[in-house]
Symmetry: D2
Amino acid sequence: MKDKGLKIVTIGGGSSYTPELMEGFIKRYHELPVEEIWLVDIEEGKEKLEIVGSLARRMVEKARLPIKVHLTLDRKEALKDADFVTTQIRVGLLEARAKDERIPMKYGVLGQETNGAGGFFKALRTIPVILEICEEMESLCPDAWLINFTNPAGMITEAVLRHSRIQKVVGLCNVPIGMEMGAAQILGVDASRLRIDFAGLNHLVYGLDVFVDGISVKERLLSLLTERKDTVAMKNIHAMGWEPAFLKALDLFPCPYHTYYYKTKDMLEKDWEASKNVGTRAEVVKSLEKSLFELYKDPELCDKPPQLEQRGGAYYSDAACRLIHSIYTDKRDIQPVNTRNNGAIMGIPADSAVEVSCVITREGPKPIAFGELPIAVQGLVQTIKSFERITIDAAINGDYNQAHLALTINPLIGSDRLAKQILDEMLEVHKAYLPNFFIDRSNL
Amino acid sequence: MKDKGLKIVTIGGGSSYTPELMEGFIKRYHELPVEEIWLVDIEEGKEKLEIVGSLARRMVEKARLPIKVHLTLDRKEALKDADFVTTQIRVGLLEARAKDERIPMKYGVLGQETNGAGGFFKALRTIPVILEICEEMESLCPDAWLINFTNPAGMITEAVLRHSRIQKVVGLCNVPIGMEMGAAQILGVDASRLRIDFAGLNHLVYGLDVFVDGISVKERLLSLLTERKDTVAMKNIHAMGWEPAFLKALDLFPCPYHTYYYKTKDMLEKDWEASKNVGTRAEVVKSLEKSLFELYKDPELCDKPPQLEQRGGAYYSDAACRLIHSIYTDKRDIQPVNTRNNGAIMGIPADSAVEVSCVITREGPKPIAFGELPIAVQGLVQTIKSFERITIDAAINGDYNQAHLALTINPLIGSDRLAKQILDEMLEVHKAYLPNFFIDRSNL
Amino acid sequence: MKDKGLKIVTIGGGSSYTPELMEGFIKRYHELPVEEIWLVDIEEGKEKLEIVGSLARRMVEKARLPIKVHLTLDRKEALKDADFVTTQIRVGLLEARAKDERIPMKYGVLGQETNGAGGFFKALRTIPVILEICEEMESLCPDAWLINFTNPAGMITEAVLRHSRIQKVVGLCNVPIGMEMGAAQILGVDASRLRIDFAGLNHLVYGLDVFVDGISVKERLLSLLTERKDTVAMKNIHAMGWEPAFLKALDLFPCPYHTYYYKTKDMLEKDWEASKNVGTRAEVVKSLEKSLFELYKDPELCDKPPQLEQRGGAYYSDAACRLIHSIYTDKRDIQPVNTRNNGAIMGIPADSAVEVSCVITREGPKPIAFGELPIAVQGLVQTIKSFERITIDAAINGDYNQAHLALTINPLIGSDRLAKQILDEMLEVHKAYLPNFFIDRSNL
Amino acid sequence: MKDKGLKIVTIGGGSSYTPELMEGFIKRYHELPVEEIWLVDIEEGKEKLEIVGSLARRMVEKARLPIKVHLTLDRKEALKDADFVTTQIRVGLLEARAKDERIPMKYGVLGQETNGAGGFFKALRTIPVILEICEEMESLCPDAWLINFTNPAGMITEAVLRHSRIQKVVGLCNVPIGMEMGAAQILGVDASRLRIDFAGLNHLVYGLDVFVDGISVKERLLSLLTERKDTVAMKNIHAMGWEPAFLKALDLFPCPYHTYYYKTKDMLEKDWEASKNVGTRAEVVKSLEKSLFELYKDPELCDKPPQLEQRGGAYYSDAACRLIHSIYTDKRDIQPVNTRNNGAIMGIPADSAVEVSCVITREGPKPIAFGELPIAVQGLVQTIKSFERITIDAAINGDYNQAHLALTINPLIGSDRLAKQILDEMLEVHKAYLPNFFIDRSNL
């Protein structure tokens, strides 16, 4: 790690999350000497980039720090000699997300950004772009760390690990942090005293054990959890409590997204109702974003506005700063991130990405070995990992048959007939973002 | 294996399948010298036992063979010094099966005898009875082979392997034989020229490869399959064709029961409709059985009547005879049976039962090593195996929480809320057959 | 398999073993319709080829069979459209073997053809030649089976499996057959009633269990074995009995070559003494071979002479015929052969060759799943497999460092210093047969 | 962890190492508030306990700390409510060690305290005593951590993990620390900038990678190593350099004890010569210890004397303090310790002890997942682990046959005949310390 100040590149810099990222770097500046932050976006995001970029500069100015904020549409210029690259892109913008959510629902299956058919198409659109970024990094900043928090974070991390030479990649998610905060609140202890052993996949992570001051309190937490009406929910997931007998036998702390698998029917109905009343999540977020950007425009605003926390991705960007900070300072704190499995979870391929508690060192995250997952969850984790691996291959090769297979084996779909109908309609509407599927291979 | 004639014991001997079993022994008599066949049943089955037992005796007489057919309600007397014990019992009779089918359907999930909630309750009722039989075998005929074809055959085999000292146990199913016959017919070749490498679980078995005269014809078979409207269906499974792109990418020959997982919604609807029109399978079978027993009563009948093939379990009893014959003669033919995994399928515990091609020797079935299953199916097989293991433990311990967990993780249910409702109602209606769940443990 | 008669090609056809091979084909002719046998050899072996080829023709003539025996130095002509190719070559002839035996002994470590430093150099010389043959087969007879009985048979099978497109390859060894015959003799039963579950590596295979008429007699066999002064020895392995307590705790039937690992010091001394008195094995064989070829020249001789059994490779060629016969007729007998592991032995890579009981079908050998080896032998098997894998890579890449590593980790050497000395001297003396190590890579 | 001061118990408190332990606690007192240290010993060690105990009290007094030092022969009194228990016992004292070293050498195999026959007998004597301590801990201080640095540390840790209810156990060794210091010195960097990824077994641990400031320098280190005449040796291991080609291909940083496996013959000769000239290690240590205790008696001495570093166990006791400190303060530094594998090293059973880099938290050490070991070392690690597991079982059950098996499969012995001779002689001379082997089981 060089001694001079760091160069950070944020791809998708025009995102509404950027103020949180800025806040994160500003408050850690004394230990993490950032010299330049490059906010990169594409032509369609230019206006938002300028709005949020100006706010970023005002924030730095208010903090009286010598951080230079660059705004650019030229990704290569930005990547040159970067130390850390963060990605928070959304290929096809919220419009595409709305389709991911609406279309599957027509066929009676879950439309959601990260799981099921929705997450599948987001992966198909995003993976080729991320691999393009990696290719540029290979020549422009081969030693930089890639910190991805674009969803579906697990699949994107694995795509990079298996299909590029960039191996210094970490996928971040705010779900585990939310679980830690939720558990601390339920138990009535300060979060600093609590630690969770996390293992699983992105949006399918389990708390294997929960400690306060080094003593396991899992049993107590699970018992308190069943007395509640919610599942330590995320902003964007409907709150529904777990059945006590099920949770007792499961003997694990599930993540909010587990409701999609253990309450499939109920979640589908809730999503369906929400889509009729308040709109799908993309539609809600779209209007939230609009108000946020109105706020950001205010030249008097020099701080991250509290309204951003309504946005749903709370802690996300802060998690990225925290991770960069820990790598840079060899902090060796334990963070759950998406990384190369390397045996941490038995039965999952060594080269697959898993979401697992890691000690964060200057060499990067080192995953803790958790052995075999409890038998009750091995199958689901294996199934989703199989779905992810096949999806990644389909995304890269534009392989229609593999895509059909991946959708069919996803337990939220479970139908070769519906899979075909959804696939055909979605390929058509997302055509512009899925070039791999529409290449004329006749003369290859 | 002793030189004198063999003693065969058939528990559930009053079953309508018994004539097929008799036919099987009669036609193999020259190589398989059966001296005694003991047909055992319970008080409630006495009448049927007498009807079918008389037919059995007429069949032997017609064949002019020195096989003695004993009818008894005294299981211990029958088991004494047995060489082979076959089990074809139905705890709770067809009435219980009808409830297994009807009740889940009320909650919108699959009711079917071997998969999902139906199979779960059949396991709960059957496992304690089978383990009781094993306990008797341990003292009365410890060296006998237990050939089980009571469903769910995989779980029952595993319960015996893991929870009794009887290790010479084989679980039989007619699905793989049906697949071989179906494939031979589709390919237009004699079945003797065809061989399938089978691996998976009971009612979840895949043809990994298909050979004619030693040459793989899998690709051709899968391609012909997609041109058909059915899935090489069983009598009791609705015929629906596979989507070509899915099947091509799957690159395996699925079994008819895979429709429950890869066409979940459609199967649910078909079952629902059938239940309204012709009745559930149990209800259909009940009337079929009634006619069969009318036929069996005919003192002129000295053969297995052709109508038995409508019953649904075609080849089942013959498979049992074939297996006994192969063990007795060290025939070394390759048969797909349910046996101890022992590494044949990687990733599944060594002590679990799997359904896999085995070479049948006088030492019993030796499973062929197939390594890792293809990635697309690892997760489903793992999930169902996890469901099976937890179900077995719940059955033996009468553990409500584990039962709730097993039902919830089954992908045909996928809801802790529905699982609880179904569990509560079903435990109540099957109460008489689930003593483990209703023991007063307060003073244990 | 075609209907017309078979074409068999034997590379190294001038070997003294060929009469046994001929006898094997002649006695199985009624079920195995061999039409042509091509005996192939190299220029240096021309004289022997003619002697043994003439004997082969006289044998066929005496048997009045329409088998055509071709003698040729043109390997490609022979391979064209072959059905089975057998390899019994010896690169560098017995002269090279004598060096394999003598030189390591100078450094105080074992010199033996298949284990330790001797086997290592035999592998280095042989693997490139076998891969050349495979390359020719890929274009001339891609569907033929390659039956290799050149030593070290395990490494050669694995080299073919991992480094050529020929996957229909089987490695044969007469050790397991010898163990079966020895065990039958000790137990006083006919070999046809006995079966051994074999698992391990070539020349490191264990009998996991031993059955007579389907009943385990392992305990009795091990107990009888310890009463003997020998280890069911091969002609070429010194007879020494096993210590009773060791064998009882091992609870496995070791193969004769296990003496090299479990009696290292004693074997070294015996080999050392033998080399001083009767000469090394190669030197003994050389004189045996000379007498054999004198016999073969006799134009009156029309049968395999009994003296051949002194040669050491008893049953070897017959094993090849037996295997070909079983594949051709789909006999499904159980034979221990070297084949792709595919999970048969847990912990060994799926693509490695293992020596394991297989059911022999028209699709080839299907290995039986044996799960984990007993803990006491896992390490040794793993060590030798590691040695084999690294040796294969060194042979193919001519990699000096990897060669040094392989020799050092072999437990019969166990010294980086001795490994270097042996390697340097042996590379020099075998230079002519190790082109991969002496390529000028400077302008690659 | 309680708020009041800690109670530390040191079993074998009369050891010459105790002053280092005291120094360690004294210098960390501000963060690690030790209130009581109980030094426990047995009757035979009473005199030494008093000498070293007095020195310990003088050290505390000089440091003006409120640590109470208790000396006792009553182990149970000491264990009551302990927070940390350290074990540094030597069953049979140095006399037994001298026999461990001398007797195997007579038979031409390695006599050394931790590897081969020597380590085997040390395990046999020590394991029953450690399990007795664990049994006392279960009732007197069930939540205490057991920090063992008695050799063979790996086997003792595993014996506790698998055969007692004490799961909070860590085995410590100074070898990895020595490797880190050695590597830092060779590379000319401060040790604080260096980190090694350690994985393997106790006294068989490899540096998988070596980092300075987060960048891998393994290649450079290995290259510098081969230019040296030593192997980063321990005080008690003869210095011999590695062969460059071997080390390059191995591509790992071996530990000093690897010389026993990769330079077996040379080490045997060196040990043999040393035993004739300066005496075996036990004999050397005995005289060193004598001088140390002379020094300790000096009432003016209030510090750890520098001569202790000659003793051979440098850093050992300090490592124990460092570990206790890290657990107590949740320091999350990365330390190589012996702990439950839990999948950290693939292929080794989950419940076995391995020596592996762990992050040290208030919940204890959490092992980092390293996946598969490189193929070249898998076999050796597996072999030694098999040897260890069988040895542990033999020690607990007093099983002669298993003991014979363990010794035979150890690659430093490799002979069932020598194993028997050594076993018989050693069992006799150590009889007093091996009650499990001499119980009269006739009336059990």
